[in-house]
């Protein structure tokens, strides 16, 4: 298909989105990620029946926590598509990257930068 997708996100493969846990999402933000999205199979099409539903719940949990601590729950999102929908995958990646650009850098990344500058100066 040779579709163009943004280059500023990293794909982390999972055996099933049901493998994702809230801690994986939180760690990504703690390490300085500006946003994160989970792409699962279509709802109802999970090979393990409810993997993508579990993932959605965990994404929602993470969003609530991120809202609470001032990082912003809108920085995480769950998408569903089938493996044959390459163009939609590309579209979602562009949509998410644009949204994150709109939101700007994550407060955690900015804090980390400030801290490392302080450490360099000291």
């Amino acid at each position: 298909m040779r579709l163009k997708i943004p280059t500023n996100f990293r794909i982390i493969r999972l055996p099933c989105t049901g493998k994702i846990d809230i801690i994986h999402i939180l760690r990504a933000f703690e390490k300085g990620a500006d946003g994160l999205y989970v792409v699962g199979c279509m709802e109802g099409d999970c090979h393990f029946n409810e993997g993508n539903f579990r993932a959605r719940k965990r994404v929602e949990q993470a969003a609530r926590v991120l809202d609470l601590i001032g990082v912003g729950g809108e920085r995480v999102k769950m998408y569903n598509l089938s493996s044959g929908e390459g163009p939609l995958f590309a579209q979602y990646s562009i949509e998410m990257v644009n949204k994150i650009k709109e939101l700007g850098p994550s407060p955690i990344r900015l804090a980390r930068q400030r801290m490392s500058k302080k450490a360099d100066a000291a």
Partner: protein, 222 residues
């Protein structure tokens, strides 16, 4: 097992905001099973606190440790060599663990990270319900294995009260009438004769009415 639920993160933040070095201490027993205070919850809480304080521009050290149990000396001893590295400990164990740790480490503030709810069972995924109130003198043999002390709002011991309607308790339509459950079970066991027997006055001195309780076993003492 002991059922607990996580305290709201805002409450924990308020508790720890004045400390710079905080240890999040999990417990591998009941609170792990009810997903309130095990290793995973320790990781999540530590990550959340780190990010919160980082975003506030505060540098705090937040450590993570999960013990096999917090209600036994030998496991709590495992943190003796690191306890002085922290200004406060948030224990995700039940109230027993928090207190036992506080008794052991007198100069370190011990803060609870969960609310201890009851002695209960994992009825369904994500649903924990009370089954026992540790009254100290079990009546289950007479009540078809269903506890009127923990499951009846009034703790009545001789059949349902007037608030029982269609098998539900008057306190909520979601709460089963314990005595309806007992009667159904006694019928299934063909032991309705037991229902007719008037229960003797229960000895509540073994309950909380008698003050904090202890069990002493000379046979297992060393």
């Amino acid at each position: 097992m002991i059922i607990a639920e996580k305290k709201p993160i805002e409450e924990i933040i308020q508790e720890v905001k004045d400390f710079d070095r905080i240890l999040i201490l999990g417990c591998n027993e009941c609170v792990t099973v009810c997903e309130a205070g095990g290793k995973k919850e320790v990781e999540v809480l530590a990550s959340v606190l780190r990010m919160y304080f980082m975003a506030q521009g505060q540098e705090k050290t937040i450590g993570e440790r999960t013990l096999e149990r917090q209600c036994d000396h030998e496991y709590l001893e495992e943190i003796r060599n690191i306890i002085d590295d922290y200004d406060a400990v948030v224990s995700l164990a039940c109230g027993v663990g928090v207190q036992f740790a506080a008794e052991k480490y007198l100069t370190t503030p011990l803060l609870p990270g969960v609310n201890t709810i009851c002695l209960g069972a994992n009825e369904d995924r994500g649903l924990w319900t009370e089954r026992c109130q540790a009254c100290g003198s079990c009546v289950l043999a007479r009540t078809g294995g269903i506890c009127p002390v923990s499951r009846c709002a009034k703790r009545v011991l001789n059949g349902p009260c007037g608030g029982s309607t269609n098998g539900k308790c008057e306190i909520s339509k979601d709460t089963d009438c314990a005595w309806q459950l007992i009667i159904d079970r006694l019928k299934a066991l063909d032991k309705m004769d037991d229902y007719e027997k008037v229960a003797p006055v229960k000895d509540w001195s073994t309950d909380r009415a008698g003050g904090p309780r202890t069990v002493t076993r000379e046979d297992v003492k060393i």
